[in-house]
């Protein structure tokens, strides 16, 4: 998408946002309260755009992503906690909507897998090294001139 058309899309989105009742936005489309804006950016990066499943709603140009950003902004302005916003999204779209799912019983394997792999790798290296150190050196000097 060209810069011009991107700007048009952005302008339309901002116009819609302004029209849809979010008043606490400044001229750049950011929340006036910098603390809220920071929280907004953090949350928007952690929510999956479900139309284009590998983009976050912060990055996506899809209309639905725009609506979900509006939803997050409105909830922030309304004083909702981050947890409440994530809950709102997972209630509707499931755990899949979050890029980093919370650590709980059913997600232990996802979070633990890297450590399990690391342990497994260490174990394999340990065994190989111990095995090799027991083998005779193969670069002993040859018995004599050939």
């Amino acid at each position: 998408m060209s810069h011009a058309s991107k700007a048009v899309v952005l302008a339309i989105l901002l116009g819609l946002l302004a029209a849809s009742g979010v008043q606490a936005l400044d001229a750049n489309g950011q929340l006036e309260n910098p603390v809220l804006q920071e929280r907004f950016e953090h949350i928007a990066k952690d929510l999956r755009c479900l139309v284009c499943q590998n983009e976050s709603i912060a990055d996506s140009n899809a209309q639905l992503a725009g609506d979900l950003r509006r939803q997050v902004r409105e909830m922030l302005v309304a004083g909702k906690s981050d947890d409440a916003i994530y809950q709102f999204m997972t209630d509707r779209y499931g755990e899949f909507v979050r890029f980093s799912p919370p650590l709980e019983a059913k997600t232990v394997l996802i979070w633990g897998a890297p450590f399990i792999m690391l342990l497994l790798g260490a174990l394999i290296i340990f065994r190989v090294v111990r095995h090799r150190s027991r083998m005779p050196l193969d670069d002993e000097p040859s018995p004599g001139p050939l």
Partner: protein
Amino acid sequence: MWKFLLPFVAFVLLVVLFAFGLSPKRDIHALPSPLIGKAAPQFALTEVVDPSRIVSNADLKGQVYVLNVWGTWCVECRVEHPALLAIAQQKVVPIIGIDWSIDHGLDERDKAKNWLQQLGNPYTDVAFDKEGRTVIDWGVTAAPETFLVDGHGKVLYKYISAINDEVWQREFLPRIAAARRAGA
């Protein structure tokens, strides 16, 4: 001994993993809806054709109904439209439409009116979701999506993408019959 067995076991495990992961029956984009088994989100929106009327699923209590999310911008919705018309002719359940104005434009309403006039109207009522809020409440990711709700207002099933007669007979009719047998 285990030195020879281990690669074999690893191989078998990989085969099982791939058989599951690469199975053509498994749709990696399919998302289980967290709404299944839960209360259907409430909505009260104006009717597309007659804006003076309010369409709300609160009025459907005690009835099994189908809710179909569509939009005139949605190509697959045009594909499924004849199937919806055929399903509506069977008069099994009310079909409520949600017209999703994806760009929040009001012209979607006129386009929807034209659509229904030209292609036929399978819907009992069509609610106009101008802001896209009802659509978010129902966890819709892309149109068309079709929900089945029982008489207690509980979501029984969700079908993503264009519905057709085969899906209707296989997925919807048995669930509607079961819900009615259960008195819902």
